[in-house]
Amino acid sequence: MPRPILSSALAAAGGLWLIRNLHVVTLQLPDEAAQGAVYRNLFFHVPAWFTCFTAFAFAGLAGIAYIVRKRMVFDTLAVACVEAGVAFTLIGLATGSIWARIIWGIWWTWDARLTWALITCLVYFGYLMLRESLDDPTSRARISAVFSTFAFVSVAITYKSIEWWRTQHPGPVLDFRTGGGQIDKAMQSALYHNWGALMLIAAALVLIRMRQEDSRRELEALRRYVHAQ
């Protein structure tokens, strides 16, 4: 399937799935016993984080793949995944802040996971800035691949070390982390559905961004060709 049609199909499927999920979350599921209506935020907050982890993991793997194989498609995939990941990180931070304002009474606290999320965001902003300051496509691909490998390792270490430093964020509730019994089955299923929908949207964004990156590289090549004439 050509990429434009594939990305549109993924976006449409993700959008429709999201509408279906919104119906379930807002009209079918009851309010949570302790938190009231605001817990519905969770259905966007947690899937947004899962989506951003997935995107960053793909970006890290794409970076390593570029170092090993030296093929531009891996660089294109890496930058597309990082940008999609950063977008979902911002969604995760914003939804988290709204929830915290209502439940904790504050927009922000220096809790382990919040701090980690912010640092991850900073590291990947650095990645995007680094790319912008490199003109030559090959060295841009090479240097950002090395950076993304360092970034991925550092983000993994930071995750564990900040947990030793401070923690306040609610612990895991989903069955695959706790072994079951922490969350209502219907709520958990709505959460996974929303993750699926967000993943489809993220995949559509990645495909669109990959196309843009290809066009950008083509334009840069043409510009160099014209200058050389």
Binding site: G126, M129, L130, F147, V153, S154, I157, T158, I162, W165
Partner: protein, 226 residues
Amino acid sequence: MRFARHVAAIAGKDLRAEIRTKEGFNAALAFAVVILILFSFAIDPTSEQMREMSGGLLWIVFAFAGALVLNRSFPRETPNDSLDVLLASPVSPPALLLGKTIANFVILIAIESLCLPLFGILYNMDWTRQPALLAATLLLATWAITVIGTVFSALTVNLRLRELMLPVLIYPMLIPALMAAMKLTTLLIAGAPPEPGDWLWFRLLIGFDIIFTLLAQALVETVLLG
């Protein structure tokens, strides 16, 4: 053996250049002293809180001074295409990186050894209560700063705005190491012997150093040669 000789040659070359010109050293030391003095305006230096903040303050100073030293590490090789000459020489990129890392490490340790007594005098702190462990913390965390900083100095050598980019790129990555160093330094300056839980931070520093040294050695060829 050849590798060790090459590493020593590169480290010796960088250190000799630094001892003769003292450009990076003087600038970084002056910068560190200025920040140490500026902190006295930001916080009340006589308060008990100062003791609790000592580790944080010191490592912010060291990290800032470190960025100045590291910023010059590879860019100093760009005039007259010295970097190309180094790469064309029998010295392998990992040896080049390790040599430069060791030179930066020595310079930064020298700056820290001057700043620490000055910090003790300015803020009325006795920092000599746990000298061996404090030295171990300084060595481990400084190695973390220099190993990441040097490889990133190679990464950003051809960048526009590289002086600005290096700190933006390395500080977020250094957070686990800086966190451990701050925690340990505060504890050790307060004079308390480390509790069993505190050894965790030493383990973190050692693990961080090993992982990033290996990663830098593995990736430096891609960075410098493509």
